[in-house]
Symmetry: C2
Subunit: 428 residues, 2 copies
């Protein structure tokens, strides 16, 4: 059998530990598939003394993580995390030292993917990141290779397992957001600081990577309009259900003459759409190609095993010599896409207001809609929420988003409204 692929591993947390376990447990199988053994030779993390549940004594320990870049290895696997800092330093140094790099770091790729891809190409090295989007699901490969014959009109999906876990639980148990979030944190499904997840930032990182692969554009994270599920009420989920929809946090990227549109936003997904059946921490991505039609990829979006599975898949590709330009085409060929404005996008919207229980409030809302040119398909006003306010939920007819935005603008600051209105888009 050919020489082993030698791996230097930086970061020994959830994913890093998982990679060691995958390589241990499936050692022989992986060697058969890869055509040669894959062997960790050196590791680094912050704390050498931490018990990580795996025997590290077989590997060289490197105190200075950045120096792993020049370790006697073929590949550097970066599983530290963070857009900048030690992860970026390591990736840059490794690529300029001619090492292949595998990473699960979507934040780093969203911010520095283009630079790193160019560095990889310059040195003939691989830069691979299957684990960075949708965990164990081979969706990077699905877009970069599987759907490569197609012009992609749209790529969208459920990209954050924490949010989907919370939404599924709110849905199944009729509970409110804060309550379920606290439980998810206790269970380890949500971080102590959950804002990257629940405000859509993590999904936006991933979406910008998918968009680059789908449209041949440079990753443009700054253009993603991201919002999350913080303001969602149990009542929104109940109203959605009554209308035949489920609430999902969906990242959508579309490219057309108007430019590149990227958004992470809560959506009402019709019950017969595959994404409506994605529950728990599962992720799913849909790509729409001009010949293949709608492709769906679904699976575990995070967690030790699935994420490590994707990292090791990248290592196997490298061991086989099956790799090429990280973003499907040479970095220099990626175009800078103009951000498409959302205002002219047409669709149906769900709008929910918590309002004071007094005369005239409904008229005020209805007038704002009318004056902004929003046509109402259905309106439900329901009895008091826990705090005594009344819920008004509207579904609009199809129309441009700028009208909905204008209506909400008119209502901003109104004394009748309690808290932020909730605006969701309908996905049919």
């Amino acid at each position: 059998m050919a020489q082993a692929l030698r791996v230097a591993l930086a970061g020994l947390g959830t994913v890093g530990g998982g990679v060691i376990r995958v390589l241990d447990e499936n050692r022989e199988l992986i060697a058969r598939r890869a055509g040669r053994p894959i062997e960790v030779v050196a590791v680094s993390a912050r704390d050498r003394s931490k018990d990580r549940g795996v025997d590290l004594s077989r590997f060289a320990w490197v105190d200075d993580t950045a120096a792993l870049a020049e370790a006697d290895a073929d590949v550097v696997v970066e599983l530290i995390g963070g857009a900048d800092g030690p992860a970026l330093t390591l990736a840059r140094r490794a690529l300029s030292a001619g090492r292949h790099v595998v990473t699960a770091n979507k934040a780093m790729l969203a911010h520095h993917g283009l630079e790193l891809a160019a560095a990889a190409e310059a040195s003939g090295a691989a830069l691979k990141f299957e684990a960075a989007v949708a965990g164990g699901i081979p969706v990077i490969k699905g877009l970069r290779e599987g759907a490569a014959a197609n012009a992609i009109a749209r790529v969208y999906g459920i990209l954050n397992g924490t949010c989907n876990f919370i939404l599924s639980k709110m849905e199944a148990e009729g509970r409110d957001f804060a309550d379920v979030l606290a439980e998810a944190q206790a269970l380890g499904y949500a971080e102590a600081d959950p804002s990257f997840d629940i405000d859509g930032v993590d999904a936006a990182h991933k979406l910008s990577i998918l968009a680059s692969l789908a449209f041949g554009t440079a990753p443009a994270f700054a253009q993603v309009a991201a919002s999350g599920i913080r303001h969602l009420l149990a009542a929104d989920i109940a109203e959605a259900a009554a209308l035949g929809y489920r609430v999902r946090l969906v990242g959508v990227a579309e490219a057309d003459g108007a430019g590149l549109f990227q958004r992470v936003h809560a959506h009402l997904v019709r019950f017969d759409h595959p994404l409506a059946h994605v529950t728990g921490a599962t992720n799913a991505v849909v790509a729409e190609g001009n010949f293949v039609g709608r492709l769906l990829f679904q699976g575990a979006g995070a967690g030790e095993g699935p994420t490590a599975s994707a990292v090791v898949a990248d290592l196997i590709d490298i061991a086989r010599g099956e790799f090429g330009p990280p973003f499907a085409m040479p970095a220099a060929a990626l175009t800078e896409a103009a951000a498409a404005p959302s205002g002219e996008r047409r669709g149906r919207a769900y709008l929910r207001f918590a309002v004071a229980d007094r005369v005239g409030v409904l008229a005020e809302i209805a007038a704002a809609m009318r004056d902004a040119g929003v046509s109402i398909e259905s309106l439900i006003q329901r009895g008091a929420l826990a705090d005594g306010s009344v819920l008004v939920a509207i579904v609009t007819h199809e129309g441009p988003e700028r009208c909905v935005a204008a209506a909400l603008e008119r209502l901003r600051g109104s004394q009748s409204l309690h808290g932020e209105p909730m605006w969701m888009h309908l996905l049919d």
Copy 2:
């Protein structure tokens, strides 16, 4: 830009014509992604004069299809079909002439995959066949590469669009099999001779390819126990629905200590399983890995556009130089798997009998079950079918399949039974 990848194309029917259209319509995009243009240079089919809706005058026409193997091209694309005959002759000749081969021909691969893979490896050529399984869905890539870090316990899915189209229509419209088949034929969704599809042979071809990739075994088509949906009644679908299930033709491959088990059979799929929501001509494949968990790939399983999309994806991989052993590992490393017997498999079964409407029939069936050791979970007897017979539908408790087989054996030839009993497995 680098030199074009030159393609010799054999077969200009549904898929072959589609390949020309994809390469024409997405020409520039494909060149950007592939790193170089992909150009058809020579073509062949039976009838030179046939109008195929594409301009063929740009390509060299080769009368002797097998001679395409030595045309001045880098890749031969085989889209003729058939396990043997001209497709096999061409593939063999092309590989031994050092040409890469791309094919959509599952029958040929199921029967001769191992030989062809060895020939490809011997000459350093690619042998790629993404289109051969599940049409446009990149499931070959998903198993060969995406899930490569995992020991796969089971791979299963809806692999035949014609059957799924028929089943969905029977389900939606409450119609019987023969009736819907005739309509599918009229619409071009089913062949004039539909037996390859409806008797599970086509799905068995595909399953044997998936099993090889998943388990590192040589394709073992002869070991697939295949049956189809010919004997299914509208009443079966109604009973299944009442139990919370949908009927799907599912190909399942599993490997464990007992060997390799491969079966294509009608299953009752629980309503909350993703396969239950796959309707129409859509295909879906699930792979269960020991680290990644359950991966689902879903999309169009056939048709000109989706199938051609997969063929061209293979060409792009070749243009990029990203290819390796066809069945994930060298042909010589693939093991010969012993066929696992079905008898000791445990599960729940659905059994349906059309019986004479007279005293004692139910007792006869119940006695056969008891004597064979089959424990009945539920039994429904319903009023007359169209021909005056009565329907008896049974769901068994979990138990070994040999007991169910023994019960059916006891009932074989009984005067009380009209036609073949229907045996389906439950997928929860």
